[in-house]
Each structure stands twice: as C-alpha cells, then as structure tokens.
Amino acid sequence: MQILSPEAKAAPLEARGLIKSYRLGSVETRALDGLDLRIEPREFVSVMGPSGSGKSTLLNLLVGLDRPSAGEVLVEGVPLSTLDEDGLTALRRTRVGVVFQAFNLLPGLAAQENVELPLRAAGASRREATERARAMLVAVGLGERLRHRPDELSGGQAQRVAIARALVIEPAIVVADEPTGSLDSESGTGVLRLLRRLNEEQGVAILMVTHAPAAAAHADRIVTMCDGRVVSEDRPRATPSVAMRGLA
C-alpha cells in the first residue's frame, strides 16, 4: 500500500470546479459553487469560512462520502468519478484518513480496537492490526490508554484516538472536519500540535476545517470559503515543511 512517496507527482488531493446542490422541495441550495482546490504533498491546509459556507459539504465530497453534482475530485491523480462505492470505500481505508468533529468512535470498543477498525475493514490479521494500532496510539501519546473505552476518555484523548485511526492506514492525506470544535481550548491546542507534528514527522498532508483563526494559524496555508467558493488564500508563516520542499 506504500506506493506513494512524497516525491509522487500527483497531488494527494485536488478538487476541480466542484458543484454540489441540494434540493429541498422546490428550493435549490448550492452548497458548493464551482470550487477549485489543490493540496500539495506534505502540505497542511486549513479551510475557514462562516457556518453554512459549504465546508463540511466539501470534505464529504473529498473523502468520497458523497458525490458532487458537477466537477471532479482527484485523490493522488485518480478521479473519484471513476470509482464505484467499493472503490471509494477502499480509498478511505488506504489513502484518505477522516477525522470528525464528533469523534465518531465506536462506543463499545476500546481505544486500540477503534484504531484497528480500518485495518480490520481491509481484512488485516489480528496481529498486524494490533501491532500497528498500538504503535499509532503510542505516537499520539495514548500508549497508556489502549484499553480505555471512549466514555472513559476525555474529549481531547478521544479525538487523538480518532486521529490515530485516521493515520494508522498511512494515508496520503488526512481530512479533518472541525477536529477541535468539541474541545476546550487547551485540549484543542494539544490536538492541533499533534496534527502539526504528525504532518511534519510522517509527511502526511492534512486538510482541516475550522472556524477558529487561532487553530487555522497552525497550517501552512489558509483557504477561506464563502457561499461555496474559495474567496481568499493566505500563508500565515513559512513552515519548515514548505521550506524543505522548496529546497528539494
């Protein structure tokens, strides 16, 4: 599964002219209105925008949980429109990790089992799944909490488990929808630092939705959306990863 190296040519994630409209009765809402976006390898991008601007809709399309009305999403150069439901599912358990605001952990399972989930879905053996999940939990600083259930974890810890679950598949990109939205500022900062560290250490690209400017500031690039379109882009700082890429 480790076909992709940072040197690969295709961008981990790219959206071209995305349109998504919802029809409720006779009223049509355009949640996305011709959106273009490209994430470079190893890049950490924040998406900001007012509520209802289409951020969640965008993420759902990017990870193949929904299909656009028009336009195309490419993951590592592969157009998602060419994949069927199984193909999209396979994509989520191999190339794209997903993190939700609502954690979305299985309440009945221990932290480690939750992290094993995508490996299990891919049919990995028990041993392999256990080893990789443990290693990942240690990496997110939860080596002591392997056997805890979600309701025995704090919000910040639960979100770290969710992040571990997204990263355990060694994806090309992690997509996170308001990962700190349900957390207090202290644990929120912890989660952001973790994402940043994983981005730097493991070289995984990250696309994160947030509406907290402080959170967005952790990113290499901030994309601001309004009414389903990108209205501005902004680079808060020259990050090591970008600098390194520039040198390479």
Binding site: L65, A121, R165
Partner: protein
Amino acid sequence: MKALRAALWLIEDVALPYHRRHVARAALTLLGVAIGCAIVVAVELLNRSVVGSFRETVETIAGSADLQVTNPGAGVPEVLLEAIPEIPGITSAAGLLQATLPTPRGELTIFGVDVFGDQVVRARQFPPEAVTIPDEFAFTNALDSVALSTALLERWDLAPEAAIEVAAPAGRRVLRVRGTVEPRGPAALYDGAVALLDLPAAQQLLGRVGLLDQIDIVLAEDAEPVVVRAALERVVAGRARVHAPRERATGLDGMLLNLRTFLSLVSLEAIVVGIFLVHHALATAIAHRRRELAICRAVGFAPRALALAVALEALAFGLVGAVVGCGLGVGLAELALDAVRGAVGAIYARSGAGSLELGVRQVMLALLLGVGTALAAAVAPARSAARVPVLRHLRRDDGDGREGAPRLRAMVVAGAALIGLGTAGFFIEYRSTSALVHLFLMAVPAALLALGFALIVPAALAGFVALLRKLVGERAPITVQLALESLARDPVRRRGPLTPMLVAFALVLLGASMVASLRASILGWVERTLAADLYVVAGPSLPLPSGETFPAALEARVVPIDGVAKVAASRLVYTQLGERTVVLRSLRGRLPFDGLDYPVREALPDAAESFARGEAVLVSDDLAHREGLRAGDTIELATASGPRRFTVGALVVDFTLDVGTITLEEATYRRFWKDDLANVLYVWTESGVAVPAVRRAIEQALEPVAKTSILTAGQFERDVSGALDGALRLTWAIELVALGIALIGVVNFFLVEVSDRRREMGLLRAVAFGPRALGRSLLTEAALLGLLGGLLGVAYGGLVSWLVVSRSARLVSGWSLDFVFPLGLAATTVVVATVAAVLAAGFPVRRASARAVAELVSME
C-alpha cells in the same frame, strides 16, 4: 475473503457485544427460531412415528409374505383361502384375523391364525418353536383357548389355565390361557399384549365367521411376481384387494392427508412467526447500530462486508435456534405422541410404539429451516445495513431526517396489485393428495396478500392520520396534535411495528376463524343429522369405524322398553372405493331418515325410494368432490359377497370423518356384508316421556348382555365439540406466540424510536413540555399505531380467513365449510392491539421523558 474477515470481525467486536447488552431480546429471537424449528421437527417426528410404526406393524404382521389380500371393513371371504393356493407360483397362503379388545387389565390384541397349520407364512410369523401348547387337543377343541405372550403372562402374573375376561363385539367373554408364545415377530408388538387364537375360535369370538382380515401369501422362488399378482387379482376380483404389505402404509398416508395438511399449516405458521421474530430482531439491532455502521463505512468498511456481517449474524441465530429447536421438537413430540397416536389409532389405524429419535432427516430439516428462516429474515436488514446513510449519522446534529418523499402512490398501486394477485391465487382449481401441494397453494397467495398489505400500510397510516386530523382538527389537545404530526411526518418509517402486528393479528384471526368455521359447520351438521334422543354406543364415546361394536340384535332388547318410540342400529366400517379407504355407514329408513336429516347438495328425483330399496347410496360431498362423483353415477364396492354396484342417489353434507362417507340402507348392508354388528343404536323416545328414565331403563336392559354407554343428544354434541377442541388446541399455542411477537415488535420499535428521537424530545422539553405532556404525546402515538395495526390485522386476517375457509378448506378436504368470522375476537384484537401498544411503549417512553433535558440534547 477480505470482506468475510472484516465481517467476522464486525460480528465479534460489534454485534456480539450488542447482543450481550440485550440478552433478553437475543434469547427471545433464538426462541422464535427454535420454536419454529421445533414444531416442524415435532410434526415430522410424529408423522414418521405414527405412519412409520404403522408400516412397521403391518410388515411385522405380514411376516415374510410377498403379497396380501385384504378388504378393510368388510373382510376377506374365507372361501378365497381354498382357491388361492391353486394359483401357479403361490407356495403358501394363510388367513389371519386381528382385533384389539379391552380387558380389565388393559387392551389385548388377538391374532386368529391356523395355529397348527404347516404353511410357510405362518411358520415365519409364529414359528412352531416359539409357540408352546402343552395339550394341542384341548386347545383346539375349546373355543376359549388362547396362547398368551410370555411377556404378558409375566406382566399380568397369570398362571396356565388362568381366565381373561375380554369385551368381545358380541359381549363379554372369558378366555383361558392354554399355551404361550415367545415375544418375537408379531407377538412382540403392542408391548407384547398379544394373544394367539385358533382361527375358528377367533372368528367366533369376533363375530366374523367365514371372514378373514388378510390372507398372507408367499410366492415360489421362480415365480414371476407380476404374473402371479395378475392371476391373484382375477381370482379375488371384487371381493378384496391384492397388494404388497408395504403398500398398505401408503393408504394410511392418504387417509392422514387432512391431518398432515393441518399440521403442516401449523408448522408454516410457526415458521412465518419465526421469520418475523428474526427479521424484527435484526432490523432493530441494525436500527440501533446505524451510527456505528455509518462510522464503519466512513473508515473503510465496504457495504458488502456490513451486509455479510448481518447475514452471518442471522446465520448464527438460525443455526443455534435450529439446534435448540431439535431438542425442543423431540420434547414437543414426546408430549404430543400419546395424543396423536391415540387420535390416529382411534380414527384410522392402530399401531405399535414408534421411535421419536431424531434422524438425519429431522436434523437436516431443522437446520435448513433455521438457516432459511434466518436468512430470509436477514435480507432487508442486510440491505439497510449496507445502505446506511453515512453522512446523516456522522453529523453532530444527527436526526434532522432529511429524506426523500415516500413514493406512497407507487406503493399503494403495487400493494393493490399484490392483493389482487393473492386473492386470485386462492381461486386456482386443482386436485391433489399431497399436503405439500396444498400448503404451497395456500402459503404463496397468503404471502402475496401479506406483502400487498405491508405495502399499503404507509398509505393507510397517512390516510388514517389525515382523517383523524380532519375529525379532531384544532380542538384536540396539543399532545394529540403533536402525536398526529409525528405520525404524518414519515409514514414509511412509522410502519415499522405495523407489519409484524398486522401479520401476527391476522394469524390469530385466521386460526380463530378456521376453528370457528369448522366447529360451526360440524356442530351444526351434528345437530341437524343426529336428531335422536339417545345414542347407545359400545365404547365410552363417539362411534368410529375402527371402534368398539355390539351385536345389532341388541336393538330388539331396546324396542320393547317403555317410552321408546323407535330404534335404529347403524354400522360404521371402512371400505374400499377404488384405491381409497372410505367410511361405509348403514342406516335404516327412507330419505329424510325419519329425523336424520342430511343436508342434500344434489339428488336424483327418486333418491329416497331407491335408497330404501338398497339400490342407491348417499355419498358425502367431500368424497364426491375428490372423486368427481355426481348424483346418478355408479360406484362399485367390494362386499363380502363380491363386488356390487350402487347408484349415487344423492350427495349429502357429512362430517363423520374426513376420509369421506358412503351411506347405505341397513338391510342391504347386512345382506351383502354378512355383518351383524353395530356401532350405535339411535333411540327416539315417545313425546312427553322423561328421557332420563328411558335412559335408565335401557341401561338396565343392556347391562347383562353388553358393555355399552348411553349418551344423550347433548352429551353426544359435547363429545364432538370436545374432540374438536382437542384437535385444535395446537393452533391456540401458535397464536399466543404470534401475539407475543406483535408485542415484542411494538416494544422494540419504541425502544429504537425513543433513542432516535432523543434530540427532538429534548428540544420539546427545553421549549415547552413537561415530561408528562411529552410522555402523553408519545403514548398517544403508540395507541394510534396500535389501533391502526389492529384494524389492518382484522382486514387482512378477515380476507385471508375467508379465502382459506371458503376456498382452500374445500380444495384440501372437499368439505364446504360455512365461513364464520369471529367478530368478538376481531373487536378484542383491535382493543388488545391498542392497549398492548400503549403498554409496550410505556417503558421506553417513561424512561426517556424522565431524562434530564441536557442529557437528551447532548449526543455523545
């Protein structure tokens, strides 16, 4: 393979913990499958035991005979025994007479054979070395001599020369033990309660001089069976039938058709009930786990893996249920064996004890059923698991229910079409002797109807709510309005508990109306035809063709009794009509029978006269239906004096036995069948006399000569309805189970519903409502659902009952039943449904409406 691995993991880590948390529900589901399998296994075991042991008995008695000559009821004329050995290819032929007689210590089966004959057949049935008779001369010379099985001798603790009192057809007789038989072969049957008599003595004892029950025949080694059989058939033509011993059990199969169809119907009901239980359990589990499934889909589980997991989960339920069901089935069969064997023995044929051991066939059947039931039930839940709307359940603000508008109109059209198709299915005309065919042709249209009704349920719900809204309008309290609004919002989903309720209540009604129709038809007929005041019978209860008898001459002792206006003896025997075993009844008089008023379906103009002359017979309409007979047709019956032809004078309604009945004028019967026994004396009293006094007088007159009991018309009817109730008790058990499912369905629905709507409830609480008002609104919703479920159940149940009673019952049994709809039960059903729904919803609703608002609003 990968999907399988993923699915197995899902079961282990997601499904199992879920069921561990809901142990009671899982156990109930298992029980549902188990009961379904158990009933099928029990029916199968009982059938095998009864038919199988009958076959075994027949074959044991036949010894190693290649062919038999029999003539059920009338008996085989003994003269044939002279002609048969002359036929080329036949080495040996021997006659046998058999009867089971009551004794003070229990039943004794006696075999009348040529004890000292040297026939090959006899030697193989009762080998000379197994029969010990110290004084052969004394044995043969005294007509009361018997050789008793050593097993019985020991059990009854009898000494040689001991006396045994038996109730013979012609009255009480005393037999003396003058020999013993070792219990093997036929002598080991019936727990060894067997006695051997010399043939003439047996004929005397049983009042059947000159007659045999069967002639057993052994062919020469080099004989061509087909040729010999043809020759034999020419010799006995019209006086008896020729068949291999094995073929007799096939006849029993035919006689038991109605019983088997009925039992199969019960099994089918059990399976339907099982399917609904499993379906509901899985659907509920899936509904509860929707969010978990959505998460699994989001992190990379393929839809296939989720569906597979549900199927495997169902499979586990099916397998475990089947295994438990096998055990339950054996227990159930054991409980029912005596009753079933008693009923079959009394009505059709006596047999020894059959084994109830599980065979490979029963285990396979149970596994097949369990797995089939579970998988059938898993189809829809598996699909809904695979298609779980991922996004909806991943949102933080879950539960806003943005769903496409239900295609109500399309569902109604499809539903109506299915209902039409199902109804039409009941009107297919066919004739069959296979219980499976009948079952199939009943089950498929009934299933189509059920599907059709299930499809129109949402529209019915929408219409029902719209109607209520129009009726109560703005005046209704806010709690009721809230309930109506919630029901109207998503009728397709709210149908959840309605479909199982509908089917369960319909099953209850179907069973009840079948029972009511059968009862009303039979009891109405009994009342109409058996208009005598007193009935003298030989046994303790209803007269049956294989039951006890007394000499018809007893009639002469009753006639002179004061207060008796008229007496008529009647005989019931089995006889052969072609390949079919039917009941032959002798009756005195003209049509209508001086008070014995048979409802006539069709008759020749001179039917009464030609019946009185003994030229015409009455044929029951069920038999006529099966044989395609009309008034004016001619039938041939094998009598003791050779074949005789009779005109079908009339087709009458006759519920005597489900094998069909032919009624013949009394004197004609006596003449041709050379039979002077009777099963019953009909006694009419003079008007104005006290019936109890007459009854006592008859009792006194008959006491010294025969063992009889005297029933009044009321007792007679009570016996009939008692026998009916006994036979129909099984349906009630099934219906209780069906009702149970309906309730489980409602409880589960509200458990899921309440947990799904926690947020909505929290909002309502936060905004305006106290816990009571909220609870009331939810309970109103439950009551309305229950009411509608009850009404729809009555509609579907009414339609299916009418079709089954007026169409299927006729096609299976040939009987035309009067359809009786159990109105009272229907009304009760609606009330029970409503109350049950409220009670079932009460627990989850109370729990939820008492929760803190904050708890309801927060999700994690």
